[in-house]
Subunit: 230 residues, 2 copies
Amino acid sequence: MTSGIPTAAISRLVTYLRILEHLEAENVSRTSSNDLAERASVTAFQVRKDLAYFGRFGTRGMGYTVPVLKRELVRVLGLNQTWNVVIVGVGRLGQAIANYPAASDYQFTYVGLFDVNPDLIGQEVRGLTVQHISELPAFARTTRIDMGFLAVPPDRAQDAAQSLADAGVRGILNFAPIVIQPRTHDTDAGPDLSPEWRGVTIENVDFLAGMKRLAFYILNPHLQHIQTEE
Amino acid sequence: MTSGIPTAAISRLVTYLRILEHLEAENVSRTSSNDLAERASVTAFQVRKDLAYFGRFGTRGMGYTVPVLKRELVRVLGLNQTWNVVIVGVGRLGQAIANYPAASDYQFTYVGLFDVNPDLIGQEVRGLTVQHISELPAFARTTRIDMGFLAVPPDRAQDAAQSLADAGVRGILNFAPIVIQPRTHDTDAGPDLSPEWRGVTIENVDFLAGMKRLAFYILNPHLQHIQTEE
DNA sequence: CACTGTGAATCCTTTCACAGCC
DNA sequence: GGCTGTGAAAGGATTCACAGTG
């Protein structure tokens, strides 16, 4: 990371935000780097450093006020604006995601569901009609799509990812157990990203990988790390 | 990590293994650090270093033979032995996991499903009868449980994790959006893990966090990182 | 000659100690 | 006095250059 903010810090910010939501729900109005650290299973140094990357949100000698820090983290993470999401792949996993209660927190909105299975097309899932993936380009011309969630079988994931990139999404949350290859074209200065992949971010959520890592750490407790986030 | 193996290396080994399975399925018999690197979106240095933590699996001047390297990674990751898994939480997400096709690859076997919802108890899911979570201790006395997958709502996740630890699991794959707190008891040398949590590894698979990180990186493309694994 | 395996160098992340402020 | 914010130090992870070998 050239610009100084560790990617792990972003994961931790998400955790801090969740803790603040919890504290707010319990009407706790103040907290501290120590309190947050304990709840997040990190050190207080880490909490303060992570927050310091983005500003000064506390009061020395006092700590943090829950609603203020929460608001600031929401802003930093971009959760105070709308995000239009499509899901590609509406099998069991895609439906579980679509129906997951907290997933439409903040301004995330599912705007379209796509699949190739004729049995699914036309079905209603969470108030949306499943469309064939071939409808995605037309759909993208009428509706802004910010993110795509990819919950198709592994052998279809690369093509589906390409469809999402072609549709102009800015980010892909990939549930399939593959590494997505952004398409490249060759220039004389080596291969370069195709324009539809410029600035597209990919996050992987891969439980098969998680279960294999778990096997490894169970067998090798000496290099244990208590808790990992992919 | 005091002992020298970066945790990120383990994630990458899982990726290399997947690539090797893919190559084997296509009857490719040889590969190289360069080929693996390209497919995994990392550098060839990284591939060689990651493999070197565990042994010498290649031939200088030649590369790696696919079945050999695959077998070695399977062994390193502990996938050549049986793993008995229970799922706690058999809602939509738990069922999607139980039915995910590749999840019973290698020697992973689902041996029990648990929930608290009366509508689910007694139902068959993937050939197993859903039991009430209160049956878990008795079940654990008759069947060895290696891992627990935790797919319950966030407000039940801490208690369910405790039940899994009490049942003697060695690892928890946590799908709930919370940080699990291993129970501690206080000694004069500070707080210490309770015995049931000794050596228990936790891996988090959190798509809500993934979607929030995605929002952040879409908004901050200058600190982009192409692809992250939680 | 090609490609692996690896100590050394670099880079990044976390930890620390303390200055700054309420 | 207590707790945040931060430059500096320590610790890890990645990159590199090249020695080693079929």
